[in-house]
Amino acid sequence: MAQSFKEALNSGKFIITSEIGPPKGTNLEKMRHHIDLLRDKVDGLNVTDHQSSVMRFPSIGGCLEIKEHGGEPILQMTCRDRNQMALQAELLLAYTRGIRNVLCLTGDSIPIGDHKEAKGVFELDSVQLLRTIRQMESGKDLGGNALDGAVEFCAGAIVTPEANPIEPQLIKFEKKIEAGAEFIQTQAIYDLDNFRKFMEYARKFPVKILAGIVLLVSARMAKYMNENVPGIFVPQNLIAELEAAPKGEALNKGIEIAGRMIAALKKDSICDGVHLMAIGREEVVPDILAAAGINGHKP
């Protein structure tokens, strides 16, 4: 029997998680392929929840697939699409199907997605969702009513270590930990010195930190993210490295950079693990791990 994510978190080993993006439609082939490819190489597989507000196969559906295929799912739950009743109901369903890990997110805004006239719910925020889980664990729902059978989750949240200004983010980070977050998966980080500084601060809190690693596939992507993705800062030297890569080799360079960063984070025990986001290129995650010198990670 494989280790649960929570056991892995508490084992003291360097944690690896990765993410799966569900399909837009009912063709699950590609997602199943990614699950088969990754489930034994990581400690947990996140399933995104209509990422970037693009309507897709649901996160919980992806988690059930992972469960059925012997993997350890991490259910990403945003507050964008469901009110408190729907969120709690889904937590009940998740628990009864053996899903034990939840990543609590506020969720992206509707206008950036592909249903631009839809209603954004945001009745709860990420901090309130974390507290909801803790309350349901005590046997009561948000209405204060008794549950016939409680839940138990390993709950996590996110932080953006490169945000500017940083203090409001850190205040919220601390509220998330107070609300019961056991692990934090960060937004993509690229500058290890900055991240080290963040970790000096974050180490003071009783929470496991997994550094977000987003695979760079080209210099163009790096520049695009610098301009358009909040809280992501790819330093110039990495962009130059990608630019210098021979034609057709930028992806390999990106794999090398990601592998190198993971190896450095692991070697110096800067944080408790990494969360790999290969957005649309999940099939190269094993290559990134190999580049980091990590093979056959999970027992």
Binding site: E123, V159, A163, E167
Partner: protein, 214 residues
């Protein structure tokens, strides 16, 4: 404080007027005059445009405050022109539309969309200030409303989409939580931001909202 409105496209007004040939136009001397969406000038302009569509305008008026009791008195003065109309085309905010609708028994057609309750920053620029949520939290947020100024209406601090003080939905819009943070910090009251805020009560007064205030 104003009701901020925007004129509907003429096409939509025409669709609403289907089968209604004779219109009486009502403007408002308060909010829609200030926003230049339903004052005297705009009413006269609408009159011409309706005539251009082949409609008959039986009369028009600009009520000083279309949402209050005076609406009834003002409309009485124009009873004849109103009676001979098939409908009232109202160029006030939705409050005046409803008021006119309850008074006359005639079909009412809104010519404007009521956008929000807001204030004017500079001529022609408005921003929303309050969503009348029923439980005001301005005391914790340095007087900046997180329900209306934050796209997601968050209560416990910024989302991950905030960037250099701007909101994830628009680089031109300020992030409410950056503003709240800055003001609380200047007041040395950041502890308020650290305090957990529970979910908002969405049913302070279940709709339809009625209140008796003694």
């Amino acid at each position: 404080m104003k009701s901020i409105t925007r004129q509907k496209p003429l096409e939509e007004i025409e669709q609403q007027l289907e089968g209604l040939e004779r219109a009486y136009i009502i403007g408002c001397g308060t909010c829609t005059t200030m926003t230049k969406t339903g004052g005297r000038e705009e009413v006269l302009d609408m009159k011409e445009r309706l005539q251009g569509l082949g409609k008959m305008v039986t009369g028009w008026t600009v009520i000083p405050i279309a949402c209050d009791e005076m609406t009834e008195a003002s409309l009485k003065e124009n009873d004849g022109a109103i009676r001979s109309a098939d409908c009232l085309l109202v160029m006030s905010c939705a409050l005046g539309v409803q008021k006119a609708g309850s008074y006359s028994g005639k079909p009412v057609i809104p010519a404007l969309d009521t956008l929000f309750i807001g204030v004017e920053d500079k001529p022609g620029y408005f921003h929303e200030v309050c969503d009348q949520c029923g439980h005001c939290v301005l005391g914790y947020t340095a007087g900046i409303c997180p329900i209306t100024a934050c796209h997601k209406g968050l209560l416990n601090g910024p989302c991950g989409g905030t960037n250099n003080g701007k909101c994830e939905i628009d680089k031109e819009k300020d992030c409410a939580w950056t503003l709240i943070y800055q003001r609380l910090k200047a007041q040395d009251r950041l502890d308020l931001m650290r305090k957990y805020q529970p979910p908002k009560n969405s049913q302070v007064i279940p709709r339809p909202r009625l209140a008796r205030i003694l």
